[in-house]
Symmetry: C2
Subunit: 132 residues, 2 copies
């Protein structure tokens, strides 16, 4: 088994959140609109996604520290430190973020989505159908 696999970025998020302090804590708290630009070599993998559906999008949170194992939940220093695996902090050994986004429209390999809680320019690593 390959012990340290390498991720391939399949696209990038375009949105209006440019500072970490402006990002909602979670997609469940966001109604922001943005777009997922999927790179041409992966466009075929979008076949079957339709406007109106909710998709699960995995992002590589490229600005997050990877060497932090405990955080104050939601950045609130009045709360005791917790292990990052017990939270949804972006700080974690492999900073993969999961958002459930609603597809508003598809324009070729660009998906207009709502529910964005992620910084503009964040790489996309995967998209999945939401479980039934």
């Amino acid at each position: 088994m390959e012990k340290q696999p390498v991720l391939q970025f399949v696209g990038v998020l375009h949105g209006d959140i440019t500072r970490r302090e402006d990002a909602p804590k979670n997609y469940t708290e966001s109604e922001r609109i943005g777009s997922l630009e999927i790179f041409p070599e992966y466009a075929e993998a979008l076949d079957g996604i339709v406007a109106g559906q909710t998709i699960v999008v995995l992002f590589w949170l490229h600005q997050a520290a990877r060497d932090v194992l405990k955080v104050h939940p939601r950045g609130d220093h009045s709360r005791p430190l917790r292990g990052v695996f017990a939270t949804r902090s972006p700080f974690r050994p492999n900073p993969v973020g999961i958002s459930e986004l609603k597809v508003l429209a598809m324009h070729g390999s660009r998906l207009e989505v709502s529910g964005v809680d992620i910084l503009d320019g964040t790489p996309v690593i995967d998209i999945k159908k939401k479980t039934d």
Copy 2:
């Protein structure tokens, strides 16, 4: 930005599914029990996880092909090919699997869990709190 980040395995799943054809199609269809062994250097990140809660676990599906962009959903060849991003196939450019597992018990850095739909020996790359 690091263009091709390298994943670090933080643990491994132990379970009784040893053949891909025996794996449930989804965690929502499984009541199987297994355990997550988190490696000692990441054990601190578990602090705050308690028995009874549901956690989101990200796996690296190390046996999945990464160069497949279209599949027959659920491996059913009577169904038309779809883009992998419109499915939950393990085949995808970055084969990250997401399961929601219930924590039955914690023994140090080993978590006994139910809902396992993943092959024995699959590497763990992340654990998150489920969104409220």
